[in-house]
């Protein structure tokens, strides 16, 4: 870094003043339901003397925005990133630059219109409020900041720490990432959109839209059956037989869910591109309206999660997430910042995982199944509740409830049995290369590949019934992702041997033959 750049970097900097346009619009957007409520309430009280509520709210929001802009400053020194906020209660968040794990640059359509971007700096701390969010900077400055933060060479690592084995230092450069230094690992294939209907996002989006719509109807105090089209629709329902209604309803619902899920897929993943930068980071850019650029330091990558929920499994697809210190695995409907590949053919996902891990073994290894005791346990755990449902329904029918109750009750037994068998089939583990591989779940099946270097402890849990069956659940704890990755219901001695082989020397002193 040149001397002038250093000097500039060490001054306290403000956010872009253009954010004064972003904040009010967003806050007002959030306040729309409340404003509608106010208008309705004002009308209900009558006389119109409360007309000033609306303008007052707008002025209030503007004032808060200006205040927030005026009191927020940030500074980047060679050692620390510092953020100062607040007027009365001043707060300074400072984080060492070598603890920066991820830099996430997001731009909503409004941000993009004004040439702005929001920068989230992840530090991997669990304490809330310790992450830094700069909303907003000019887009170019945001990109430069990202490059600057991620391509520093960490100074705080002593020799011999587990992190060191991954990478040795490289020449320092603060140039923004250029495409020339990139190796592209994956890019969105538009044909993958066909997997969108098999994700839950469409269902969730329809539910959300219905919820908002219903809320609005309630707020506006309209009787839905008075509205023209709805009235006609209800009339139509009355005239046709019930099976036609059900059929039509299902078709319409499927259509809506499909359209919404495809829309959601395109919004989140359009232009998806994953590349490896020469400085040892993975760069992900994606998004149609809201664009997102995420950088993950490969040094911080502890493994990958290959998620294959039942529906995606049927069409041989999966999605990939990273296990990274500093990023939350469970981030939101669009996969959050740890997403490495949106729903795509399973082969493509496995291939990408192998490329990211520099090792094809964990994705090709044959998993060791957990044996008959584990299968019995899965079956008991599924069938006992199912039979309880049957028994309860039986008592209810005996006591005079509708006989139709028998149908779902009886159905619950085969469904539970099928789930149990599938859950057992999913169970498996292996040690492959330098990684612990574990798979579990049925409706939400997941294959976790955790690098043994990233394992920072073991939990061996045995419930009463597990002890009687000679089983245990072995959990490898780690600083990234879900914080712990379990190998459920594995025979006790197998669990201990597995733990001992994955991290030599840790369990060993406590083991007896």
């Amino acid at each position: 870094m040149s001397a002038t750049a250093t000097a500039r970097a060490q001054e306290w900097r403000r956010l872009s003043p253009l954010m004064l346009l972003v904040y009010p619009v967003r806050e007002l957007g959030r306040a729309i339901p409340a404003l509608i409520g106010l208008v309705v309430a004002g009308r209900a009280v009558g006389n119109g003397q409360y007309w000033w509520f609306g303008p007052a709210a707008v002025v209030g929001v503007m004032a808060v925005s200006v205040l927030r802009w005026a009191t927020t400053r940030y500074r980047i020194t060679p050692e620390q990133v510092q953020l100062r906020t607040g007027l009365l209660q001043r707060k300074t968040v400072a984080t060492p630059t070598d603890r920066v794990r991820s830099v996430d640059v997001t731009a909503s359509p409004l941000h993009r219109l004004l040439g702005l971007a929001k920068v989230d700096i992840g530090t991997g701390s669990h304490a809330s409020g310790s992450d830094l969010s700069l909303d907003s900077l000019p887009a170019a400055e945001a990109a430069a900041l990202r490059a600057e933060l991620l391509h520093r060479i960490p100074v705080g690592l002593p020799p011999g720490s587990a992190d060191d084995s991954v990478r040795v230092s490289e020449p320092i450069s603060h140039a923004p990432p250029d495409r020339a230094g990139d190796i592209e690992l994956a890019r969105l294939d538009p044909r993958w959109v066909r997997f969108a209907p098999f994700t839950m996002s469409g269902v969730l989006a329809s539910a959300a839209i219905l919820g908002v719509g219903w809320n609005l109807v309630e707020q506006l105090d309209v009787n839905p059956s008075d509205v023209g089209p709805v009235k006609g629709f209800l009339e139509h329902l009355r005239r046709t037989p019930i099976w036609v209604d059900i059929l039509q309803g299902t078709v319409v619902l499927l259509g809506v869910v499909t359209v919404l899920s495809i829309g959601g897929y395109l919004l989140s993943y359009w232009g998806f591109r994953l590349s490896r930068h020469a400085h040892g980071s993975l760069q992900i850019t994606r998004g149609l309206l809201t664009t997102r650029a995420v950088s993950i330091e490969e040094r911080r990558l502890r493994g990958v999660e290959l998620a294959e929920p039942l529906l995606l499994r049927i069409v041989r697809a999966a999605r990939l997430r990273g296990i990274t210190t500093g990023l939350n695995s469970r981030g939101g409907a669009d996969g959050g910042s740890s997403l490495l590949l949106p729903p795509a053919p399973r082969d493509v996902v496995a291939q990408l995982a192998a490329q990211i891990l520099h090792d094809p073994a964990p994705l090709q290894v044959t998993l060791i199944s957990h044996g008959s005791a584990a299968r019995r346990r899965r079956l008991t755990r599924a069938l006992v509740p199912a039979f309880t449902v049957v028994a309860t329904a039986g008592v209810a029918i005996f006591a005079g409830a509708s006989q139709w109750l028998a149908m779902p009750a009886v159905l619950s037994v085969p469904v539970a049995a099928m789930l149990a068998v599938d859950r057992y089939r999913s169970l498996g583990h292996a040690l492959a290369g330098s990684a612990l591989v574990t798979r579990q779940g049925s409706l939400d099946r997941r294959l976790d590949v955790l690098l043994c270097d990233g394992i920072i402890g073991w939990n061996v849990r045995e419930s009463f019934f597990q002890r009687r069956a000679g089983l245990a659940t072995l959990t490898a704890t780690t600083a990234g992702g879900r914080q712990g990755y379990a190998v459920p219901d594995v025979p006790r001695s197998v669990a201990l041997a597995l733990g001992n082989r994955a991290v030599p020397g840790l369990l060993g002193p406590f083991l007896v033959p």
């Binding site: 011999g160 939990n459 061996v460 009463f464 600083a479 712990g484 201990l496 083991l511």
Partner: protein, 160 residues
């Protein structure tokens, strides 16, 4: 392959502590049922059965749980690792390497102070892996914290 238990047991005073701590919950339930007994007119048999069941369950829990816990709860610190075992019906062993230890806390609630006990919590960078040792003798706890601080300060790194 089996795993041996950690070397040290917790303080025997923990048995009394766990018993005393479990009493209020049962008393609350009992008080509710006695009130029901006093107020209601019908369901005499049901009221009586419920009361008997509560008394039996409560007595069993208070007699069995603390003893069982005392037999399970153990801990050990070596130069390389912290190893704990806890629980009673469900049991869990946790092992963390010293090199990954981030913080060591002691905590003493009012009731624990009365019994001269302390809890020691050893955290790592994973939210899934704090090791808790309950019901330690106060002096043992202080010694343990000193020992852990000493051993962890020798190992460096950001422990992730």
């Amino acid at each position: 392959m089996e795993m041996r238990d950690p070397a040290h047991q917790v303080s025997p005073r923990a048995i009394v502590f766990w018993t005393v701590r479990a009493v209020p919950g049962w008393l609350l339930l009992l008080a509710g049922q006695l009130l029901w007994f006093a107020v209601a007119r019908d369901y005499a048999a049901l009221r009586f059965t419920a009361l008997v069941v509560t008394v039996l369950l409560g007595a069993t829990h208070l007699l069995v749980m603390p003893q069982w816990r005392y037999r399970v709860h153990r801990w050990e610190v070596t130069d390389n690792a912290v190893y704990t075992k806890s629980g009673w019906i469900s049991q869990e062993r946790r092992i963390a390497p010293i090199s990954r230890v981030q913080t060591v806390d002691t905590e003493r609630g009012p009731l624990e102070q009365l019994f001269g006990l302390a809890n020691v919590t050893v955290t790592t960078a994973s939210a899934a892996g704090p090791l808790r040792i309950h019901g330690l003798d106060r002096l043992t706890a202080d010694g343990l914290v000193a020992q852990l601080t000493e051993v962890t300060s020798r190992s460096e790194g950001d422990a992730t």
